[in-house]
Amino acid sequence: MSSAALYGYCGAILVGLGLYGVIARPEILRKILAFNVLGTGVFLLFGVFARRGAEAGLRADPVPQALVITGIVVAFSATALAVALLIRLNKETGEVVLADDSAESGEQGVRQ
């Protein structure tokens, strides 16, 4: 098995993991986080295709690499917008909550 194939399987599993988080984590913030994991899995698959396309003295095909760079920036934009929507929703309804993390709240109290 080549290292490209190894990371290919890795990317495939990451997509499944991220998708599971999006479906099965009830808190919206965790869904956004899981969506980012899903995205990295897809990007990793692109990286594998780029590595396999190494030719003409280049160590990887530059086109999928450029696509992934664009993808990472767009994924960040979407995350920032989703987070802003989430916080506004929380302010309006007070319904969006995180799972109980009272165990931590003592040490984090300064941030209130």
Binding site: Y7, L29, R30, A50, A75, S77, A80, D101, E104
Partner: protein
Amino acid sequence: MTLAFACEIVLAGLLLAIATWTIAARTAFAAIAVFMVYGLLLSIVWVTLSAVDVALTEAAIGGGVTSMVLLGAASALRGSKGAVPSLSLPFKITAGVLCALVSAALATVVFFLPDVAPTLAPVAKENLAASALGNPVAAVLFVFRALDTLLEKVVLLLALVGVWSLSSDRAWGGVPELRLYQSPSPILVFLAQILPPIGIVVGIYMFWAGASQPGGAFQGGTVLAAMWLLTMMARLQDVPSTSARWVRLLLVVGPMAFLAVGLAGFYFADSFLAYPPSIAKPLIIVVEATLTVSIGVTLALLVAGPPERVPQQ
């Protein structure tokens, strides 16, 4: 099996374990902290895949700035009370099975990839000299697929407009509240005094080197954004008002310069976003320099979030 491949297996295993932890962690803060580590590990994977440009972007944006936004959200949501809906075990098992099927399907695709991989590397290499750039990834971003890059800048700006429009009517055009660290610790202040001079040099170098080596406007812009955020979080510098003229100008100068050069391509070269060969390199440098500034300001303001303090007249 070589030592390098053994290391890659360990790296892949570690990556999957950390990803599982991010999904399974009990608290949101733990999950986001682990996600930062995940971003750094992933950028090592990108280096082993010989994609150093992507590794830099992943470390800066994927791991760094994304985690900052999520941390800000986690601390903003901290005080809210209410019950988290719990999902039943059969639901979770069904979801798990279906997601495993998706993974299996993708793994099958990876297994049956054609032996001779389709590639655009020879074409990119052939035209690299004409692009006046030494880094093939930068050549794809700024010359061969310049339209993608231009539209991506527009996406960044649209996201910022979206974030700003979530402010209350009163606070529109006001000052964003940086949610992390209401009272900065002395260590943060010390770092914010020491790091920016180094960071600014690194950021500018990354953009400058990007023409011929891994690096570029995104990565350089992210480092600049990080330095600006650091000084703002340490309260050494005020968060600017979102209606300030200079903020608006810096936000659009990069995309506008890119668009102007693109439109000039109709007259001086043969098509939109084509560069006249004699001055291609200086043009690309100018576009990249303005984009670096715009990307830095846009990213920092995306992290800062919607305006919350009412603008002072």
